[in-house]
C-alpha cells in the first residue's frame, strides 16, 4: 500500500512537471502580452515593466526561475491586480470556491443518491418516472440557464434569497443549487441503474426469503454495493466543483477561484495563469489518487496494483 502510494506520488510529480512546462510555453506562444491595451503604454514604461517582471530575460532563464519559484510555492505578483500576489489570490479565492463546492457536493450526493434509490425501489412507477424526468432536466439544462431561472423564481418572484453575491449563508443557497443541478442528476441516474442491477442479484432474493424487511434489505445489502460507481465519479467531480465554476461565480458575483482561471487568460496575467493551473492540477491529481485509495476500502474485491505479483 505504502509502496503503491509513493509510486503514485512520483507519477504525480512527473505529470505536474509536464503540466507546468506545457502551460509555460503555450502561454508565451499566445499573441499579446499583459500590458497590451487600446491605450498603448509608452515604450519606456513598457521597458521598465518588462524589467520588473523579468520578461526581458531569455526564455530559458525565465523558465528555470519559474520552476524554482513553483517548487517554493511562490507564484509571484499578479500582473492584473497591483499589490496582490498570486498566492494572495489563491488564498482568498480558494476557501470561497471550496465552501461553495462542499455545499453543492453535499446537495448533489444526498439528493442524488436519495432520488436514485427511490427511483430504483419504485421501478417503473410514477416515482421512478418523476425522478428521471428531473434527472434529464438537470443534465440537459446548462448551469447558466439554471442559475437565471433560480434567480428569477426564488429571488425576484418569491424573495426567499438574494439575487447574487457572497455575504451570508443565505447568499450561498442559489449558487450551490445551480452548481449542484447537473451532478445531482448524474448521481441519481448512476445510483438508480446500479441499484436496479444489485436488486436483481441472488443475495437480495436470499435476504427477502429470510424474511428481512424491505428497509433492512435496502440499507444493509443494496446501497453499499450500488454506491461504487458514484464514488468513481466523485473524484473528478470534487476537483472540478471545489476549484469553482467560472460561469456560476460570474453570474452570482462570487469571489472564488474559478473566475481567475478564465479571466487571467484573457488578461495575459502570466503569473496568475501559471499559479492557478498548478494549483488546480495538484487538486485534480490528488483527488484521483484519493478515489483510487477509497476504492480498496469500500470494495475489498478491488486490489491496488503493484501490491503483489502473480495472481
Amino acid at each position: 500500500m505504502l509502496r503503491y502510494i509513493s509510486k503514485r506520488l512520483l507519477y504525480m510529480l512527473m505529470s505536474l512537471f509536464l503540466i507546468v512546462t506545457a502551460t509555460f510555453f503555450l502561454m508565451r506562444a499566445a499573441p499579446g502580452g499583459p500590458f497590451s491595451s487600446e491605450k498603448q503604454v509608452p515604450p519606456e514604461i513598457e521597458k521598465n515593466l518588462n524589467e520588473y517582471y523579468g520578461l526581458d530575460r531569455p526564455w530559458y532563464i525565465q523558465y528555470v526561475d519559474y520552476l524554482v519559484s513553483v517548487a517554493k510555492w511562490d507564484f509571484g505578483p499578479s500582473f492584473k491586480y497591483k499589490g496582490q500576489t498570486v498566492n494572495d489570490l489563491i488564498n482568498e479565492g480558494f476557501p470561497v470556491s471550496f465552501f461553495l463546492g462542499m455545499e453543492s457536493l453535499f446537495i448533489a450526493i444526498s439528493v442524488g443518491i436519495l432520488l436514485g434509490i427511490i427511483a430504483a425501489l419504485n421501478h417503473n412507477k410514477w416515482q421512478d418516472y418523476g425522478a428521471m424526468v428531473f434527472a434529464v432536466l438537470g443534465i440537459s439544462v446548462p448551469s447558466f440557464i439554471m442559475a437565471s431561472v433560480l434567480q428569477y423564481f426564488l429571488a425576484i418572484k418569491l424573495g426567499w434569497f438574494p439575487v447574487a453575491r457572497w455575504e451570508s449563508l443565505q447568499h450561498t443557497v442559489l449558487p450551490a443549487l445551480a452548481l449542484a443541478a447537473t451532478p445531482t442528476a448524474f448521481i441519481a441516474r448512476l445510483t438508480r441503474s446500479s441499484m436496479l442491477e444489485v436488486l436483481s442479484n441472488d443475495y437480495i432474493r436470499t435476504a427477502k426469503a429470510k424474511g428481512l424487511s424491505r428497509r433492512q434489505i435496502t440499507v444493509k445489502h443494496a446501497i453499499r454495493n450500488a454506491i461504487l460507481p458514484v464514488v468513481t465519479y466523485l473524484g473528478p467531480l470534487s476537483a472540478q466543483i471545489l476549484t469553482g465554476s467560472f460561469v456560476i461565480e460570474k453570474i452570482f458575483g462570487i469571489p472564488g477561484l474559478g473566475s481567475h482561471f478564465v479571466t487571467s487568460i484573457t488578461n495575459r496575467d502570466y503569473t496568475t495563469i501559471m499559479g492557478v493551473t498548478v494549483f488546480y492540477s495538484i487538486l485534480l491529481l490528488l483527488s484521483v489518487l484519493l478515489v483510487d485509495i477509497a476504492y480498496g476500502f469500500i470494495d475489498p474485491r478491488i486490489k491496488l496494483a503493484g501490491g503483489k505479483k502473480g495472481e
Binding site: 497591483k82 499589490g83 489570490l89 462542499m102 425576484i156 438574494p162 444493509k220 452570482f252 484573457t266
Partner: protein
C-alpha cells in the same frame, strides 16, 4: 434502524463541519424594510456595482475606469469637475503666469482621513512618485505636461528637475512644458491626486489594503476592501467640505454579469445599475426605455473603424471615403446598439465640439460613396468593383461588435458591391494585430481622459508610436496640432484643432461610427449623482430623498 441513524448523524456532522469552517461571514445588512418613510430618516446608504476588482487604488498606479470610479470618491485633486467645469477643490486659489506655463496653487486647510494635514509636499511626492520610472506607473504619461516629466520618466532627467515644487506647506508651484489651456481639467484627473507622503514613505505598500495606512483626502474613506468581492466607503468626517456630503456609506460590490446586475437592481439590492460603474444588458434597453426608467447621457467616446492605410486598396483615399460614406449609422444605432448613441460623422465628440452632432459629411450618403468608389477604382486601375479582392474587417470577439460588423458588411455589399470577410480575435490577440499593422479594417473605441479635443486628435499625430495603428501621417495635420500646443488663446486654439479635424475627415484614415452614451437605471429618490461628459461618476453630492 441503527445504520440509518448513523448515516443521518454523519450527514449532519459533515454539514456542521462545512458551516463551522466558514464562520467568517458577515451579517448581510439589509437596509430595505423601511422604504416608505419620509425624508429625514431615509438611510443615506448607496449600493452600486463596480463589476470587477480595481487594478490599483493608488492614484499613481491606477489606469482603468474601475479604479477611477473608486478614487473619485475617496481622493481629491487640486480641482474637481462639476457640471463639466473644473472648480477649486484642494486648491483654495491659484495664479497663472502670463505665458500660461507656471501655476502657483494655494492649498486650503484640508486634512487626510487620519487627521494629517494635506500639504503641498504630498502633491509633489505623489507626482514624482508616479513619474519615477522604477514605480512602473502605466499612466505616468498623464503627467508629461509637467516640465521634465517625460524626461524624468524616461530616465533622462533627475527628480529635482521635474516642474513641481512645494514652496511651503500650503503653496505648490507647477511649471509646464507648454502652455496647457486645459491644465485645470488635468489636475482633477486621478494621476494628479496627492498621496499622504508621511505614510507612503514609511509603508510603500500602503495602497494594497484598507486599514490605518490607507488614507485619503476626498469625501469618502475606504473602510473595507474584500478583494474581488466588495469595497465599503464611509463618509470622511475630516473632509473639508464634509457638510455637503450626505451619503454616510457606499457599498461597491463586484458582480461581473450584466443580467445579474439588473436583477439585483430590480430586487432592491442595488440603487444603481448600468454605466458608468456597471453595464445593462443590451436586450433590456428598449424595454427599460419604454417604461421610462432609462437614463441616457452622451459621453466623450467614439466607436470607429480604423483603416490600415498601407494595405491595398485602403491606401486609396477615395476607397476609404466610399466605405466611410456607405455606412448607415442611424440604422446601427437604432437596431443594433439600441442605447441612443449618436451617429458620428466626426471624430471629436459633441460633448467637446457641440457642432459635431452634424459632422463633416452626410450619414449613409450612398450616392457620394458610389462616386468615390468609381474614382478610387479608376486610380487603382480596376474596371469594376468585382475586380476588387475581398476586404477583411476585424473586431475583438464580442457579441455587440460582431453584430455591428455584420451590419456594416451587409451595407458595403449592398451599397457598393464590395465583398467583406469578417474576422474576430480575442482581445489581447486583436490589439496586438492592430498595433503591429496586421489588419485591413479594424474596430476600436476611444474615450477621452480629460475634457479636451486633443485627446482624440493626438491619436493620429505620429505614424509610429502611440496608438495610431492606421499608418497614416500628414505633415499639415501634425503642424496644426503642434501649433495648438503653444497657442494661448482658447478661441484660436479651437480653430486650429477644427482645421486639423477637417483634414482628418477629408483623408479618412478612420471611419467614425457613433459616439457612445452612458445608459443606466437608478432609484427614483436618488439625487445629485454627477456623471461627467467623460463618463466618470462622483457621489460627493449624492443623497436619497
Amino acid at each position: 434502524m441503527k445504520k440509518r441513524s448513523f448515516m443521518l448523524l454523519s450527514f449532519m456532522l459533515a454539514l456542521s463541519l462545512f458551516l463551522s469552517a466558514c464562520g467568517g461571514f458577515q451579517k448581510g445588512n439589509e437596509s430595505a424594510g423601511e422604504k416608505g418613510n419620509k425624508a429625514a430618516d431615509v438611510p443615506q446608504e448607496l449600493h452600486v456595482n463596480i463589476k470587477t476588482e480595481p487594478f490599483s487604488l493608488n492614484p499613481g498606479l491606477a489606469n482603468d475606469s474601475v479604479s477611477a470610479n473608486v478614487l473619485y470618491q475617496t481622493f481629491e485633486g487640486l480641482t474637481r469637475i462639476k457640471d463639466g467645469k473644473p472648480q477649486l477643490a484642494m486648491a483654495e486659489s491659484y495664479e497663472v503666469s502670463k505665458d500660461l506655463k507656471t501655476y502657483t496653487f494655494k492649498l486650503r486647510d484640508a486634512k487626510w482621513s487620519n487627521g494629517d494635514p494635506v500639504t503641498a509636499q504630498d502633491f509633489e511626492y505623489a507626482w514624482k512618485w508616479a513619474l519615477d520610472p522604477k514605480n512602473q506607473s502605466q499612466y505616468a504619461y498623464q503627467l508629461y505636461y509637467v516640465k521634465n516629466g517625460q524626461a524624468f520618466n524616461e530616465g533622462k532627467a533627475k527628480a529635482e528637475d521635474v516642474g513641481v515644487k512645494a514652496i511651503d506647506d500650503k503653496t505648490l508651484q507647477v511649471t509646464l512644458e507648454n502652455p496647457t489651456p486645459y491644465f485645470l481639467e488635468l489636475t482633477a484627473f486621478y494621476t494628479y491626486f496627492p498621496v499622504n507622503s508621511k505614510i507612503a514613505q514609511k509603508n510603500p505598500k500602503w495602497y494594497a489594503n484598507a486599514g490605518p495606512d490607507y488614507t485619503s483626502n476626498g469625501p469618502f474613506k475606504m473602510t473595507s476592501w474584500e478583494h474581488n468581492n466588495k469595497i465599503v466607503l464611509e463618509k470622511n468626517e475630516n473632509y473639508w467640505d464634509a457638510k455637503n456630503v450626505k451619503l454616510t456609506k457606499i457599498d461597491m460590490v463586484m458582480v461581473n454579469d450584466n443580467n445579474t446586475e439588473l436583477s439585483m437592481f430590480n430586487n432592491g439590492e442595488l440603487d444603481w445599475a448600468g454605466m458608468p460603474t456597471g453595464q445593462l444588458p443590451t436586450d433590456s434597453l428598449p424595454q427599460l426605455k419604454k417604461e421610462g426608467k432609462l437614463h441616457i447621457q452622451p459621453i466623450a467616446s467614439v466607436y470607429m473603424f480604423k483603416f490600415n492605410t498601407e494595405k491595398a486598396p485602403l491606401n486609396n483615399v477615395n476607397i476609404r471615403k466610399a466605405l466611410a460614406y456607405a455606412i448607415d449609422r442611424k440604422a446601427i444605432v437604432e437596431n443594433v446598439t439600441k442605447g441612443e448613441q449618436i451617429p458620428a460623422m466626426a471624430v471629436v465628440p459633441p460633448t467637446m465640439f457641440p457642432e459635431n452632432k452634424k459632422g463633416y459629411f452626410k450619414d449613409n450618403d450612398v450616392k457620394k460613396a458610389k462616386e468615390y468608389l468609381q474614382k478610387g477604382l479608376q486610380e487603382l486601375g480596376l474596371k469594376d468593383v468585382k475586380d476588387l479582392p475581398p476586404i477583411t474587417l476585424s473586431y475583438n470577439t464580442d457579441d455587440a461588435h460582431a453584430k455591428i460588423a455584420q451590419a456594416v458588411q451587409d451595407m458595403w455589399k449592398k451599397n457598393l458591391g464590395i465583398e467583406v470577410k469578417l474576422e474576430n480575435a480575442e482581445w489581447a490577440v486583436y490589439i496586438e494585430k492592430l498595433h503591429s499593422g496586421d489588419y485591413q479594417i479594424g474596430r476600436m473605441g476611444w474615450s477621452g481622459d480629460f475634457n479636451d479635443p486633443i485627446n482624440f486628435l493626438e491619436l493620429f499625430r505620429d505614424k509610429k508610436g502611440g496608438n495610431n495603428d492606421t499608418n497614416w501621417e500628414n505633415p499639415q495635420y501634425k503642424q496644426l496640432l503642434i501649433d495648438s500646443q503653444k497657442e494661448t488663446d482658447p478661441e484660436k486654439r479651437k480653430e486650429l484643432l477644427k482645421q486639423a479635424e477637417a483634414i482628418l475627415m477629408d483623408e479618412m484614415p478612420i471611419a467614425p461610427v457613433y459616439f457612445y452614451t452612458n445608459t443606466w437605471v437608478q432609484k427614483d429618490n436618488l439625487k445629485g449623482v454627477e456623471v461627467s461628459g467623460l463618463g466618470d461618476v462622483q457621489f460627493k453630492w449624492a443623497y436619497f430623498e
